[in-house]
């Protein structure tokens, strides 16, 4: 199991990407951006430039699979989909997130 000592934010981005791909299937980077913005009703706004290093890192870690395809407007785009390892990681991240939010909520409630 990976530990997230000081890079919570990165973990958060990973979580959002993995979750998006797990629920929506194959998507390109821009699609992922739009999806996260829409679902969060524009509350979560990614710095879009940081999305790609994250995608590449997760691809290299084997959580995502990348492949070139053509977009709705018939242009070349790189599509990402989640792998089995990615799903495992997603479960892991979700568990962590739940633990974390629960912990934070508790503190907020009782402190």
């Amino acid at each position: 199991m990976r530990t997230h000592t000081n890079d919570r934010l990165q973990g958060t981005l990973d979580l959002l990407v993995l979750k998006t791909l797990a629920s929506r299937g194959r998507m390109h980077g821009y699609g992922i951006t739009l999806h996260i913005e829409q679902i969060s009703e524009d509350i979560l706004r990614l710095e879009e430039g940081s999305l790609y290093p994250a995608l590449h890192r997760m691809t290299q870690a084997g959580w995502l699979r990348a492949e070139w395809g053509s977009s709705e407007k018939n242009r070349r785009a790189r599509y990402y989909s989640i792998t089995a390892a990615g799903r495992r990681q997603l479960a892991e991240e979700e568990k962590h997130w739940a633990q974390l939010t629960e912990a934070v909520a508790r503190v907020l409630r009782f402190a």
Partner: protein, 876 residues
């Protein structure tokens, strides 16, 4: 990712980079489009897209351009991208590369000629300091006249030349061989070689003592003569060579590349003038070359020597009135009129290349249009306009360099053709070839072509109006007004360039045709000409020589197939023919500067009959004109008109030199028609002909009029001469037709090349028009469809397309015509019997261009107007 993949990625690093970049590009474009779709202004849309993406984007672009490794990396990627693009449109690419290659090849070939003839330094020490000095004969308007020895000595008293040397180009007869040979040689002052700054490779130069009359008979051999006659014997110095049956001691051998004053000079001997010749200021026979002091400009040398000339004119008015000093840098002298001819040709091939470039630029504009949207979007993102321009320029550079290679191959063959076509007298022709400077030139031309072809489309495409580009929804931007204007402008430009070239060629062709149609006034077909000189030992006196020629002509005349034979000292006149001033009986002598000189030639009685020159009045010479009878002379019409206007010239008397009690008055017995002996383009001058019986000449040219091919008479004529004198020297065998052909060879060469290049220009322009019309009508397919659907007649549409094209061609032809009018002044010195503004040539060329325009646009125009309206509309 597995370790194998990582390893693989190491090798794919640049591909990974490229993919990452493309991915980012996709993201930005998608965002930009969405912003635009929401109605943002372009500027806002771009700023928003960039802001959302974050700061990384621009930083990356900047660092990319700064890093050399990355720069090279990008270059390699651009090249590969370009290659892929070019390969994708193989047909178009080949047409573009081939037209560029034609342009580059033509430029390379002409430049190699220019390099060999004009640019390569002469093989003397510091050749830039060498110049020829001539008498400027203002009386005859002849700048390059020979001078006298006293003048030469006085010319030495100046502040601009280190030293001057004199020489007389002449031929010598090598005797002591099986058959005597006549070889080009020169008699030179002893300091001739030091002034040129060249030393013999064997032996030594002449000494001042050897340059005295009656001194030791010494010679210096050319490398070629040394090899031929002495088999390159290292110990040749001190041996002798027999010239005119006298032994001469060999004192030196010159290097292989030394050939002065003539291309084929093979032997040098000291001038060794007699005291009388040294003192005769009016005896003009000497050519002079000088070495300027360091740092002296041609202008200063000219000015200083003009002053020297003026001083001599004042000091010796009798001999020097009307004569100045004329200085010509040696290279100019050697190159002569070929300089301008070659520069005109270089101009012509530059135009051809420009037309090829315009074609390629047009092609790129059209193709750029197809990629316009992609490029527009990238440009909109501020992804480095420089980067985009570079990408496009890389494409044209790859194309140009490929064309350069192809052009080099073409030039290789072109140069061979050039050498074959070139007039024989073209100096230094043997040195033409492809060497490092020529290669550098080719490379430079290719790069220039790349920039020219690529820059316009690159700037155009990268400067495209983004709102239009993006909103047109994927349709090409080529239909954009600005792009159309630019392509129209380019079409007009290439037509104008062709017009200039074709006009030049047209004027040259007209000149050549009028020259070729000139009747020179003498027989041009079936006349053999041959210089034949009897040996001095067998025919030592002048009457004996006359006897030799009389016998020879009689024998030749009786050869079967020979219709007539005659002899003359010079059939044709040089720029500086043998001439003299004379006094006319009963006319006061004009002042010296107004005197007109007449040429003097000795002829045999039947010369004019053999040459077919008609007698106007009086009679030809006959056997009664002997040594003891009245001196007689035949003059030409020009002389009769000039000196006895409206009078009967036959029976009048004149004398060469001054009139005096002892002057040998010569009586005019005949007047012959004018002939063009100084070249087809020159009118006859005052000419006199004297009978050989009264004025014997040592060497004459025999002319033989034959019934058929004059070559058949060669053997019998040789036998006739040999029967009279076994060691007679026979040289310069030719025919009148060959002489005339050679006199036109430079002009024919120039005309042929200019014609060839303008034809090339015409074809390229037609290809260009075809391409433009093709692309323009295919972009307007739906417009055509709508027009047809609305009931327009196809012939009307065809007329519309043709009309548009012809409008452009007409405009180009008019502009080109105006430019040609201005430029053809550079041609005027090459023109004959046609002015630089000859309306017929201009009209004909314009018509030719319009026809080419119709022809080139007809095919694509028909194709487009034959469109099915339904199908055309479906394209929308």
């Amino acid at each position: 990712m597995s370790w194998t993949n990582r390893l693989f990625n190491l090798f794919r690093r640049e591909r990974v980079d490229a993919e990452a970049e493309e991915e980012v590009q996709f993201h930005l474009v998608a965002r930009l489009e969405e912003n635009l779709a929401r109605g943002m202004s372009l500027e806002d849309a771009r700023r928003d897209a960039a802001r959302r993406f974050g700061g990384e984007l621009h930083a990356r672009e900047r660092s990319r351009d700064a890093d050399l490794v990355v720069w090279l990396d990008t270059l390699a990627r651009d090249v590969r991208y370009a290659l892929r693009n070019l390969a994708k449109n193989r047909g178009v690419t080949m047409v573009a590369a081939f037209s560029l290659a034609l342009g580059i090849g033509a430029n390379t070939a002409i430049f190699s000629a220019i390099r060999a003839v004009l640019l390569r330094p002469l093989p003397y020490a510091e050749p830039g300091r060498l110049a020829m000095l001539w008498m400027d004969n203002r009386r005859l308007g002849l700048h390059e006249d020979l001078t006298s020895f006293p003048n030469y000595e006085d010319w030495k008293k100046n502040r601009v030349f280190e030293d001057l040397a004199g020489f007389v180009p002449s031929a010598v007869i090598l005797s002591g061989l099986e058959e005597p040979a006549r070889i080009p040689a020169a008699a030179v002052t002893w300091n001739f070689l030091p002034v040129l700054g060249v030393s013999p490779i064997l032996g030594r130069n002449f000494t001042a003592e050897e340059d005295q009359a009656g001194q030791a008979q010494v010679v210096i051999l050319s490398y070629g003569l040394w090899q031929r006659q002495f088999g390159g014997d290292r110990h040749v110095v001190g041996k002798t060579i027999e010239i005119g049956n006298k032994p001469y001691a060999i004192v030196g051998v010159m290097p292989a590349d030394f050939a002065f004053p003539a291309k084929d000079s093979q032997l040098w001997r000291p001038l060794g003038l007699t005291p009388a010749a040294r003192a005769s200021r009016g005896g003009y026979f000497l050519s002079v070359i000088g070495r300027m002091k360091r740092g002296v400009t041609n202008e200063r040398a000219r000015a200083e020597m003009a002053a020297v000339g003026a001083r001599l004119e004042a000091q010796y008015p009798d001999s020097n009135k009307g004569y100045g000093v004329w200085v010509v840098p040696l290279l100019d002298q050697v190159v002569g009129t070929m300089r301008q001819a070659l520069l005109v040709l270089l101009g012509a091939v530059a135009f051809v290349l420009l037309i090829a470039c315009v074609n390629v630029a047009n092609l790129f504009l059209g193709r750029g249009a197809a990629r316009g949207r992609e490029i527009a979007v990238r440009a909109a993102l501020g992804a480095g306009r420089a980067r985009l321009v570079r990408q496009l320029l890389t494409e044209s550079a790859v194309l140009s360099l490929f064309a350069g290679l192809l052009g080099l191959a073409m030039a290789f063959f072109g140069i061979r053709g050039l050498v074959l076509l070139a007039p024989k007298e073209l100096p230094r022709l043997d040195q033409i070839g492809i060497d490092a400077p020529v290669l550098a030139f080719t490379l430079a031309v290719s790069v220039a072509a790349a920039i020219f072809c690529g820059m316009l489309p690159a700037l155009r495409v990268s400067g495209v109006d983004l709102n239009d580009a993006l909103r047109e929804g994927g349709r090409s931007t080529a239909g954009g007004k600005r792009s159309r204007y630019m392509r129209s402008a380019l079409t007009v430009a290439e037509v104008a360039l062709s017009m200039i070239l074709l006009t030049g060629a047209g004027l040259m062709i007209r000149s050549l045709l009028s020259l070729q149609s000139i009747q020179p006034g003498f027989r041009t077909e079936n006349v053999l000409t041959w210089r034949i000189a009897p040996s001095r030992t067998k025919f030592p006196s002048r009457p004996q020589v006359v006897g030799f020629y009389a016998d020879l002509l009689q024998r030749v005349q009786s050869i079967p197939g020979v219709l007539g034979a005659g002899a003359i000292t010079d059939i044709f006149l040089s720029e500086t023919p043998n001439s003299g001033s004379f006094s006319v009986e009963g006319h006061p002598d004009p002042p010296p500067e107004q005197q007109i000189e007449a040429t003097r030639d000795t002829i045999s009685p039947n010369y004019f009959q053999a040459m077919g020159v008609p007698l106007i009045r009086g009679r030809f010479f006959n056997e009664h004109d002997g040594q003891d009878s009245t001196p007689v002379v035949i003059i030409n019409e020009t002389m009769a008109r000039r000196f006895w206007p409206g009078e009967e010239a036959v029976g009048r008397r004149f004398t060469f030199g001054g009139a005096g009690p002892n002057a040998p008055w010569m009586t005019v017995v005949g007047i012959v028609a004018d002939t063009r002996r100084q070249g087809l383009e020159k009118l006859a001058r005052c000419e006199t002909f004297l009978p050989m019986t009264q004025r014997p000449a040592i060497g004459m040219a025999v002319v033989v009029h034959t019934a058929s091919d004059p070559a058949k008479a060669v053997g019998p004529v040789r036998d006739a001469a040999r029967a009279l004198d076994k060691s007679a020297v026979m040289f310069e065998r030719s025919t009148i037709a060959e002489h005339i052909g050679e006199s036109l060879s430079q002009r024919r060469f120039q005309t042929l090349l200019l014609g060839l290049f303008s034809l090339l220009a015409l074809v390229l322009a037609a290809v260009g028009i075809y391409g433009v019309v093709y692309q323009s009508v295919s972009q307007r397919t739906n417009e055509m469809g709508i027009r047809v659907a609305l009931g327009a007649r196809r012939s009307g549409l065809l007329g519309m397309v043709l009309g548009e094209t012809l409008g452009l061609v007409g405009l180009g032809a008019l502009l080109g015509g105006a430019a040609a009018l201005a430029l053809s002044r550079t041609l005027s010195s090459f023109l004959y019997a046609v002015t630089a503004a000859d309306p017929l040539t201009y009209a004909a060329v314009m018509l030719l261009l319009l026809m080419a325009g119709v022809f080139a646009s007809l095919i694509p125009a028909r194709r487009a107007t034959a469109v099915d309206p339904m199908q055309a509309l479906r394209y929308e």
